[in-house]
């Protein structure tokens, strides 16, 4: 605060009698995630009103389980979008990873932990390939990851014969419960991962450089930031998280299915969650907590309207309109926030 005159103005505006409650509210409203959170809460209230079972334990588990995979993938997607890239292949990596686990355990007799690490390692490797092609060979990430999407899909279908397999015996029990089948397992993972990467994005050099590389690519390079390293890293994080989500989902639904992630569907939802949460497609700005809330909003919408009992064809219309209304409200709230805040 270099200028006392300016400091004065700021203090003056807020008034001297700033209560503690007001300050907490102010602090909350100043956060970028505030508006999506309000939308998520608003939906919760609406659906509770529309259906009394919405907030029962069982249904909260449903919502949690629908939120988690999208939120975890969205963590990676936010990192990539912020650094100015995108990854279309993450959903198919999610489908491949549980098969890798299955191969390692059932065909090569590896222990579960080794299988798990191998699956995640290979997932990370796919991210590495994406990153190298994008940064070293300068192919835009949209087409690069479209290419790896098809290639990995091919590998997946060839090795799996496009047919589901059961969870490997050794992985059943504790592993399966902790890694997805337990009612709160996946959401716990999601919250932990979101928390960790939120800190990474906002409080570490990696995060700062991720923002820089996406916000001002030339400037970041001029400042000596190694853009390639940052981008490759974020591609690897995204793919690894994709692999983890695939394994978790397989454990949760108790089957290893080549269609986990539904091709690009999971990716699509993750990008939507990121954008709803406030991440810009153009790079340079994004929030991981926001993406989590975005995933929550999507899960609430899907679950709530199903609970009310809409059928497939109608539900799309309702869902579409609800997305539009929620996002308009979101935008309106965040404009209010900006007008009032800093």
């Amino acid at each position: 605060m270099a200028d006392p005159a300016v400091a004065e103005v700021r203090a003056g505006r807020r008034g001297p009698a700033l209560t503690a409650g007001r300050r907490v509210l102010d602090g909350f409203l100043r956060r970028r995630e505030a508006s999506v959170l309000l939308v998520a809460l608003g939906l919760m209230i609406y659906f509770r009103w529309a259906s009394p079972v919405f907030l029962t334990r069982n249904n909260l588990v449903n919502i949690a389980q629908a939120t988690a995979p999208v939120a975890i993938v969205a963590v990676g997607i936010v990192l990539l979008l912020v650094s100015g890239e995108i990854d279309l292949s993450v959903g198919i990596v999610a489908a491949l990873a549980p098969f890798l686990l299955h191969f390692a355990i059932d065909f090569y007799g590896q222990p579960v932990l080794v299988g798990l690490l191998l699956a995640l390692l290979i997932s990370a490797g796919i991210g590495l390939v994406n990153g190298l092609i994008v940064t070293k060979l300068k192919v835009p990430s949209f087409v690069t990851t479209l290419g790896t999407f098809f290639a990995v899909q091919g590998i997946l279908l060839i090795t799996s014969h496009a047919y589901p397999v059961p969870i490997p015996e050794p992985a059943k029990g504790t592993w399966q419960t902790w890694l997805g089948a337990g009612p709160w397992a996946s959401i716990t993972w999601a919250i932990v991962i979101v928390a960790i990467f939120h800190v990474i994005l906002t409080r570490t050099r990696w995060g700062l450089h991720t923002i820089s590389v996406g916000g001002n690519p030339v400037g970041a390079t001029e400042a000596g930031i190694r853009a390639s390293r940052i981008k490759i890293g974020n591609f690897m994080v995204t793919s690894t998280l994709g692999g983890l989500v695939g394994i978790m989902e397989a454990f949760r639904i108790n089957t290893i299915d080549p269609n986990i992630g539904g091709g690009t569907t999971l990716t699509f939802y993750a990008i939507s969650a990121a954008v709803i949460g406030g991440t810009a497609l153009a790079g340079g700005s994004g929030t991981i907590v926001g993406a989590f809330l975005g995933a929550l909003v999507l899960a609430e919408l899907q679950n709530g309207f199903n609970l009310i009992g809409y059928s497939a064809n109608t539900i799309y219309l309702i869902l579409g309109l609800a997305i539009l209304v929620s996002m308009i409200a979101n935008q309106y709230l965040s404009r209010l926030r900006r007008a009032g805040g800093t």
């Binding site: 259906s51 069982n58 249904n59 949760r252 639904i253 108790n254 089957t255 009992g309 059928s311 064809n313």
Partner: protein, 332 residues
Amino acid sequence: SPQQDDEPTGGAGNFPETPKWKFTFVNHVTTNPFFTPTQYGMEDAATLLGIEKPQWTGSQNSIVAEMVNATNTAISAKVDGIAIAVVDQNAFRGPVDQALDAGIPVVSYNADGARADTGTNRLAYIGQGLYESGYALGQRALQQVESGEVVGFIATPGALNIQPRIDGAQQAIKDSGKAVTFTAVATNADVTRGLSIIDAYAQGHQNLAGMLAVDAGSTSSVGQTVKKYDMRAKSLKVAGGFDLIPETLTGIQEGSLDYTIDQQPYLQGFLPVVYLYLYKLSGGLMAPSETNTGLLFVTKENVAPYQSTKTRYQGSATDQVLVPRSGPIPHG
């Protein structure tokens, strides 16, 4: 439980007054035209029985996780009965048990786990196996093909509504021991791209002995391609597929396609509702019974009525109509 809270309504027909039970159908391809008649069947049964129109939900792109979510949501919502297309052998065991524990009757329709293992503890299965229907597709083709190349088109490999069909067809050809090679070829979720792909494949393989398809879009595209290149005049011995969309029927009638398989989807919607209703009505005394809805080959011989009448029972119209027929019924 909500049943008791509901105001009982006047019963339908001879039935006593019942609550307006609400059933949920969990499907793997909710917007697929194949299941349009299934939804009519389910609606008609519900109207007949004076209960609420069942909910039609699940996944649009055969994502099992979404189906499991939808099933769990239905359980949370305490619906009165669930019908599931059990497209995965393992995924639905838990949810079905949960539903049964919660006192919700569950039947499966259209798909019922794998051949050896139904995969769930559902009360009964109503439908005809996807794998079996694929097997029938292959067997029928073998009546006309002794040797050579047969291709099977599939819109989305790995998708649970059609992959078992192509696996079945492949197995049938393998089991026959004939010198027939079978290749599965991917088309596309977008029917228009699918047509281009089938066209390209046909041009690259001028001496195909057979062209099969396991989804509605690919089937009609096979018919169009056969006609476009007049492949019947060349080496092509057989062309066939699934479902009854208008362009496919045209293909049958013009002779570009030999047959298409009608899996009677209307019954797959109608019967589960009736079974679940009777189960509820009788306090569980009338257990749903296994029902093979069978399959029907539509060929040049019997295609005429399909084309001349658009019916709700095939999905090609919404109106309730009485379709008159006369004369003897063909039999073996």
